[in-house]
């Protein structure tokens, strides 16, 4: 298991549903669970990732950067339990979790 933490400047959208959390995905082989929680982060976004696949830090950074560029979220904590999902699946779950809070 490897733990990765990322924090980035967020975009223009704060979560607006008023929900305390949204979950997308399930922790199963080649899949992951993304828990999104609104949190006062001064406009930033944070990602806490636990993953079974070590040494993929660059790939995570690329997927997350792309996601932030695409959806422009701010003030959200994303907690992730990953079971070796490929990047497009990570991307899809991030979108779904974010859409759950929108």
């Amino acid at each position: 298991m490897e733990h990765l933490s990322f924090e980035f400047d967020g975009g223009v959208h704060a979560p607006k549903s008023g929900k305390a959390y949204a979950v997308a995905g399930v922790v199963a082989s080649s899949n992951l669970e993304v828990l999104a929680q609104p949190q006062e982060l001064g406009g930033r976004v944070r990602f806490e990732v636990d993953t079974t696949a070590a040494h993929f830090q660059d790939a995570w950074r690329a997927v997350i950067t792309d996601f932030i560029e695409r959806r422009q979220p701010r003030d959200v904590l994303f907690s992730i339990n990953d079971f070796a999902a490929i990047p497009p699946v990570v991307s899809l779950r991030l979108d779904q979790a974010w859409e759950g809070l929108e």
Binding site: M1, A20, Y21, V23, V26, V27, A28, N31, E33, L35, Q37, D50, T51, T52, S79, N81, D82, F83
Partner: protein
């Protein structure tokens, strides 16, 4: 033949099942994922954890009736019973025994005890069983819903056995030892687990319904589960000697009548059903054909 779309119970996640069963907006989750009560043990095995440890618990209403509910996530480690997972269910049922909602709904979707936490899971399973007896003692019924992709095996199958009533789809599987386990231990000639039709004939919802263990057989459609579960909500009947005698007599009679059968088709034939057609019948057709 144009089919009306179904909302599949088999495919839904535990969260989707809960949302689809209860009255919209009524569910309040207890120990939600934000609490991050994850397994303290899986890390030892380099295995990933889940924020809810594979079970969603909470309270809500079912057609207006207050209920407690737990739903296992079959896709997380086979819905297995680990320490936290089992304790969440035990806590929920004991809470129901204290607060007396009209029922506990148990959405079982589990391969049984989590191997990495085998001792904790097995003890936890029996704590759930004791809790079920406690809830039933004070009149709160526990209704099991079976039809998830993982089936219901091992300790989870006995938990299902302890429920007041079960609702199941034909996709449900219920047995103590899973077909793969029997094949591994006893050999492929004892049970060919790759023969999918045989697996479902033996352990599937239809066979369990014909023996009466499953009270209501439904199609794989969440609203059908909802209607069936709601109709079964009634106070748990107290354990009595005469009712247990009756129950035992029926089980003894089952062995006498069907004890030599080696295939579900032989049983169905003895029951007077068209054995080759049972697998293809809908829930409604089989319910109508079921001998009294």
């Amino acid at each position: 033949m144009k089919q009306t779309p179904r909302i599949s119970f088999y495919e839904a996640s535990a969260r989707q099942r809960v949302a689809g069963l209860l009255d919209p907006g009524s569910f309040r989750e207890i120990l939600p994922p934000t609490e991050k009560r994850t397994s303290p043990h899986l890390g030892l095995f380099d295995a990933p954890v889940s924020f809810d440890d594979g079970v969603v618990i909470g309270e809500g209403t079912l057609e207006g009736k207050p209920v407690a509910i737990f739903a296992q996530e079959g896709k997380f480690r086979g819905g297995s019973l680990g320490e936290v997972h089992a304790a969440k269910i035990t806590g929920l049922i004991l809470r129901a025994a204290a607060r007396k909602p009209q029922a506990v709904l148990g959405l079982l979707d589990s391969g049984g005890v989590r191997l990495e936490e085998a001792n904790a899971g097995e003890i936890g399973s029996t704590e759930i069983m004791r809790a079920i007896f406690e809830a039933r003692r004070v009149g709160v019924p526990v209704i099991g819903l079976l039809g998830g992709s993982c089936g219901c095996f091992g300790g989870a199958s006995i938990i299902a056995g302890c429920c007041d009533a079960l609702v199941a789809s034909e996709e449900a599987r219920l047995s103590v030892s899973g077909p793969e386990v029997i094949e591994t231990v006893m050999g492929v000639e004892a049970f060919d687990s790759r023969d999918r039709a045989l697996v479902w004939r033996t352990t599937g919802g239809k066979n369990r319904f014909l023996f009466g263990k499953v009270a209501t057989l439904v199609d794989d459609h969440i609203p059908a589960f909802r209607t069936a579960a709601s109709a079964l909500v009634r106070p748990s009947t107290p354990l009595r000697l005469d009712s247990l005698r009756t129950e035992r007599d029926a089980l003894v009679r089952r062995i006498a009548t069907f004890g030599t059968c080696t295939d579900a088709k032989q049983i169905w034939e003895k029951m007077g059903l068209p054995a080759d057609r049972v697998s293809d019948m809908t829930a409604a057709e089989l319910t109508a054909a079921k001998p009294a």
